[in-house]
């Protein structure tokens, strides 16, 4: 497998640049927009000297770019500010809540790709049959239903599946914080099963829209590739149908699908907020939502940064995957990158 290392490095550099830019944007939103952080922290009745002290402590008397440097320094040293809501270091909060959300996101992302791709292939190969038309209609509807609507109805029909585990079930020893994984590796199988059942409804609610989207793209991609000359050529060379479908059709058709997958991951991250709320998942998104509603500045900043970081990382991984699939992208040097 030949790789153009320049390709990987360029993508990496771009990601880093995006992260830096993101941090500046977030910082700007937090500092430049109206609102006095000190008043927020201390309340309206604080004494003038307390305000003054805090101002110095928070470096608010320094020029703005210096404040930015301090802020970045704080990120890397673990000082993420105090949450107005929980009154402790935001970093501690994040460590507590993030794993649950990660678990949900990973589950949703997995369900998404595992259902969408086969669906798209089946529909594409049977173009214009009943199966194909059913998939097309379902995908139209699936794209139109917001995930929080799905979540509301799923939660209504499966009311016992709120939270990561049923009440009364002992949570597994904390290794990663991902309930299902922890239970599995510590051999608490009934706990693992319980966690699995709990993760399916919210993950499905999150994944439904993306599944519809990707199944559609996969389908039209498959149809297009079936009509190409190389498919006829492959048939004429006597390759078995199984090989043609699973290998020679799959790989080129996946390329546009995986590209969309990157964008859909973004929507997974965004929609997790509401879905977690509805399913009382107790994850990072719920924490973020509470932060937003109670105007907890430091927490909001952390939430937005982490969402951005997740997105940039997943995009980088998706870029690499597309590069793996499509040699033209990874081996050709492009002048407008």
């Amino acid at each position: 497998m030949k790789w153009n290392w320049g390709f990987i490095l360029r993508r990496l550099a771009y990601s880093v640049l995006a992260l830096v830019g993101l941090s500046i944007l977030v910082f700007a939103i937090a500092r430049v927009l109206p609102g006095d952080p000190v008043r927020l922290a201390l309340g309206p009745h604080a004494s003038a000297s307390a305000v003054f002290q805090l101002r110095i402590q928070l470096h608010l008397n320094q020029p703005i770019w210096l404040q930015y440097i301090y802020w970045i320094e704080g990120i890397f040293t673990g000082n993420w500010g105090i949450s107005l809501f929980t009154h402790r270091n935001v970093l501690t909060d994040v460590e507590a809540f993030l794993p649950a959300t990660l678990e949900l996101l990973i589950a949703a992302a997995a369900i998404d790709i595992l259902i969408a791709v086969p669906l798209g292939v089946i529909a594409g190969r049977r173009e214009n049959t009943v199966v194909d038309n059913a998939v097309r209609v379902l995908s139209y509807v699936g794209i139109a239903i917001p995930s929080f609507v799905v979540a509301i109805f799923l939660q209504h029909f499966f009311p016992s599946y709120v939270g990561q585990l049923s009440p009364g079930v002992q949570p597994p020893p904390h290794i990663t914080g991902l309930a299902f994984l922890d239970a599995l590796v510590t051999a608490h199988f009934s706990t693992a099963w319980n966690a699995l059942l709990h993760i399916i409804p919210p993950a499905f609610a999150l994944a439904l829209g993306p599944i519809a989207q990707e199944a559609r793209i996969m389908r039209s991609s498959v149809v297009e590739n079936l009509g190409r000359d190389y498919t006829v050529a492959e048939i004429s060379r006597g390759l078995p149908e199984r090989v043609i479908t699973l290998k020679y059709l799959m790989k080129p058709s996946l390329i546009p699908t995986i590209t969309i997958y990157a964008l859909d991951i973004s929507s997974l991250i965004a929609n997790a907020f509401l879905v977690e709320l509805i399913f009382n998942w107790g994850g990072f998104s719920q924490y973020g939502l509470n932060a937003i509603l109670s105007k907890d500045l430091n927490a909001i900043v952390a939430v937005v940064m982490i969402a951005g970081v997740l997105f940039v990382i997943s995009n980088f991984l998706v870029d690499l995957t597309v590069g793996y699939l499509d040699p033209r992208i990874r081996l050709q040097s492009r002048s407008d990158e």
Binding site: L17, I143, A144, F148, A270, I278, I300
Partner: protein, 310 residues
């Protein structure tokens, strides 16, 4: 689809000749749109929603449902011939409220798209035409940063930041927030198409004959990106409504008692365990129907501009 501007086309052509060819072009577009029956459905749904939104004060069965006083005697009644969608927790007719709610939704769409599309497209044209130069890269870097954060999240945080401490969240901040989160998508879309088109031969030809950059951007490049932009505008209609509903679901919607699909949904959801299903189902269906309509319409517009041979 590459449409080279017929720069030599006689602008002094007789008016009737120009009118005739424009009508032919329009009817050709319409034919392509019509081909897929589903697009007609989409168009119908969108037109119906617009009509309902515009006419609702005059056609709702219970005009008092939006802002009128609550009538607790009729609270939470199941759907019946007098109230096809039932009544909500304040005894107001749900059907009327849903119809009123379309006004709010469409207003959001109008404002957000009205504000974001034109600047976003302009920025993308500039960035695409001057691709490789520093101001183009700057524009795109800015756009890509905004894009890294999921739009909903960004809108939420901006909305939060903009709300002064002691006031409650409201729709104005929501609209501004969504607008700020939205513009880069148009810029990126236009940039990617424009930057590849600007290297096509017909653009080079126009440059050689001394056309100004404004002319090239608007007369040569723009017609070729029009299709994807219009498609996106239509699909975005659905998206804005979705994000608007999500925002109001968490509290950034129109203040009570103004009917707003997202708020209605969140209120209805609290009553759901008690068996009151109509206050949840109908706003949900309304949201889905509107989004579906815009999506189908967007597909139809896409077909209209794609040079597919059948």
């Amino acid at each position: 689809m590459k449409v080279a501007d017929s720069g030599a086309a006689p602008s002094k052509a007789s008016g009737s000749l120009q009118r005739r060819t424009r009508r032919q072009t329009l009817s050709r577009y319409w034919y392509k749109f019509k081909r897929n029956k589903i697009s007609i459905v989409g168009l119908g749904v969108v037109l119906a929603v617009i009509a309902i939104a515009l006419l609702s004060p005059w056609i709702v069965p219970y005009p008092g449902a939006a802002f009128g006083p609550p009538n607790f005697a009729k609270m939470n009644q199941a759907p019946s011939p007098t109230h096809p969608f039932g009544t909500d927790e304040f005894g107001r007719d749900e059907l009327s409220r849903v119809m009123y709610a379309f006004r709010y939704s469409l207003m959001l769409v109008g404002v957000v798209l009205g504000i974001t599309v034109i600047p976003g497209v302009l920025l993308g044209l500039v960035a695409g035409y001057y691709a490789g130069r520093w101001h183009s890269s700057l524009i795109m870097l800015l756009a890509n940063i905004f894009v890294a954060v999921p739009p909903l999240l960004l809108a939420l945080s901006i909305a939060t930041e903009l709300t002064p401490l002691n006031s409650s969240p409201d729709i104005l901040t929501a609209m501004v927030a969504v607008t700020l989160a939205w513009w880069p998508w148009y810029t990126r879309l236009v940039y990617s198409t424009a930057s590849s088109i600007r290297n096509e031969d017909f653009v080079k030809a126009a440059e050689l004959t001394g056309a100004s950059s404004t002319h090239i951007m608007f007369k040569e490049i723009l017609p070729n990106i029009l299709g994807s932009v219009l498609t996106k505008v239509s699909l975005d209609g659905g998206w804005v409504i979705l994000i608007g509903a999500a925002l109001s679901f968490v509290g950034f919607g129109a203040p009570s008692p103004t009917p707003d699909l997202g708020t209605m949904l969140s209120n209805g959801a609290t009553d759901l365990p008690g068996g009151v299903w109509w206050t949840t189902l109908f706003p949900a269906m309304a949201i889905v129907a509107v989004i579906l309509g815009f999506n189908l319409l967007g597909d139809g517009i896409n077909d209209m501009f794609s040079s597919g041979i059948k």
